[in-house]
């Protein structure tokens, strides 16, 4: 479920900025780190930290685009490719220097332990993650589909030139999308940081999963990205139960490679052209 938040943020940033942000995975880790340190310094409980993490990472999301994506808009795609990868390395190394390479634990959202629900035992933290995830995804859905702001964000993503020509201040809405993307990444990091710890090297893994989710779900499709992430989650859980974690991940990568070869537009995308 947390991966769905990561993928959602990734696709929103993709649509708004028009480019893949390879640093998105590291924003997730950064979110976890902020949760760790904010928790240590202020002693606030988990749930209260989330809005703070969201704000900080929202700002970072905008900054990242300002630094590594928007100034390179007119250049060939390798430029943003390299710039965002460099940014990812910067964040990762910055975190390593700042908090050391040893993994830290983020404060939990719901306390540890488990709850009994009708005979089934569920961990409190995983349950809380699912709940928060559902709430956030529903909130984003509501924002995009039912509010004027969301409509305008989607119009700008669809055709920013035309959006301006109907009077919509496109720049503002792009910033909003990027802030939202960052906030979602940060919250995901804070949520994952308790169970899976926070370590600077996790960024690449998150990035790869989000990238796969968006490609599987149809490039640029928001519901596709969420479903893609959930699909990855289910795939990993069930396949891992059968053949073990490592092989499940390997199977995932092989499946992705096959999919790209056979049906690159993913499950929900429109057919893409081939290169000349």
């Amino acid at each position: 479920m947390a991966y769905a938040l990561v993928a959602l943020g990734f696709v929103l940033a993709l649509n708004a900025a028009g480019a893949v942000n390879f640093a998105h995975g590291d924003l997730v880790v950064l979110g976890g780190a902020v949760a760790v340190f904010a928790g240590l310094w202020t002693g606030l409980p988990g749930p209260l930290l989330l809005p703070f993490v969201a704000l900080v990472l929202g700002a970072v999301g905008i900054l990242a685009a300002r630094v590594a994506i928007q100034p390179l808009a007119g250049r060939p795609p390798e430029a943003t490719f390299v710039a965002t990868i460099a940014l990812a390395a910067i964040i990762e190394q910055g975190l390593t220097v700042g908090m050391g390479a040893a993994p830290r634990t983020a404060p939990s959202i719901a306390g540890s332990g488990a709850i009994d629900l009708g005979g089934v035992t569920l961990g409190r933290q995983p349950l809380a993650i699912v709940v928060v995830g559902i709430v956030l995804i529903a909130a984003v859905w509501f924002l995009l589909e039912r509010t004027q702001t969301g409509r305008r964000m989607r119009a700008v993503s669809s055709d920013s030139h035309m959006a301006r020509a109907v009077g919509i201040p496109a720049g503002r809405y792009v910033m909003l999308s990027l802030a939202l993307a960052g906030a979602l990444a940060g919250i995901a990091g804070a949520l994952l940081g308790h169970q899976f710890l926070v370590a600077p090297t996790q960024g690449a893994g998150h990035m790869l999963k989000a990238y796969i989710a968006v490609a599987v779900g149809g490039w640029g499709s928001v519901p596709g990205a969420v479903l893609g992430a959930l699909g990855i989650g289910f795939f990993e859980t069930f396949v891992a139960a059968a053949i073990g974690d490592a092989w499940a991940t390997a199977a995932l990568y092989v499946a992705v490679l096959l999919m790209l070869v056979l049906r690159p537009q993913g499950l929900f995308g429109e057919p893409v052209g081939r290169r000349a």
Binding site: Q148, R151, R154, A155, S158, M162, R164, A165, V166, A170
Partner: protein
């Protein structure tokens, strides 16, 4: 003699006037419209004030409606959402205005929840026009709106433009199909290779035997 709603060099359009902007492909019609909107730099006066330093969004909000070449509706949004996104009214007024629009454009009123990319060319053209009208613009800019449309739709479109001009809207209609445009316009301006090569009343131009040559780029 009223103050022109739009002034750009020799080009001017007054309220209630429809001016046809003619020229073949590459003659410069779209460039001119982009200059009026603000995508390109140029000395533009709108509604009596110099807007050269205003952004595109700001100019549009002064009261300009734009129907671009090839429609350019927001593909992933529904018909209703396309209209709503373009409106600057508060929520309740906005919804009322959308309903009004859907009523004025029965083609759209039939399927307000359809995603825009599913619509036919004619329906998209109507959507683009309705979207441009959401904020009751005083100046309407249209770039080749009849391209690829069935004659019935074209007639409907041109009829509406006539009604709007009668109600006081200033209209600049850029078209390759001179015959159509001159049929609804008061005046015409012919561009060739970025320069104005002919001006006159619509009737004069329509009867000019050299017009076909001018349009073909000779």
């Amino acid at each position: 003699m009223s103050v022109p709603v739009l002034q750009l060099g020799e080009l001017s359009v007054a309220g209630g006037e429809t001016v046809a902007l003619l020229g073949g492909n590459g003659a410069g019609k779209t460039t001119l419209i982009e200059t009026i909107l603000g995508f390109r730099a140029g000395p533009v006066t709108l509604f009596g004030r110099d807007v050269s330093s205003l952004s595109v969004e700001a100019r549009v909000r002064l009261g300009v409606g734009y129907v671009p070449e090839r429609r350019r509706v927001f593909a992933g949004l529904t018909v209703r959402e396309n209209l709503e996104a373009a409106s600057f009214l508060p929520a309740a007024d906005r919804r009322r205005r959308v309903e009004e629009m859907l009523g004025l454009f029965p083609m759209l009123g039939e399927r307000p929840a359809a995603r825009a990319w599913l619509l036919s060319g004619g329906q998209q053209q109507m959507l683009a026009l309705a979207r441009a009208l959401m904020n009751r613009p005083r100046l309407l800019l249209l770039d080749e709106p009849t391209l690829g449309l069935a004659p019935v739709v074209v007639a409907d479109l041109l009829g509406r433009l006539g009604a709007m001009a009668a109600a006081g809207t200033a209209i600049l209609l850029a078209e390759q199909r001179a015959g159509l445009a001159l049929g609804v316009a008061h005046r015409g301006i012919v561009l060739s290779r970025g320069r104005i090569v002919r001006v006159g009343s619509a009737r004069e131009l329509a009867r000019d035997p050299a017009l076909a040559d001018l349009m073909a780029g000779a």
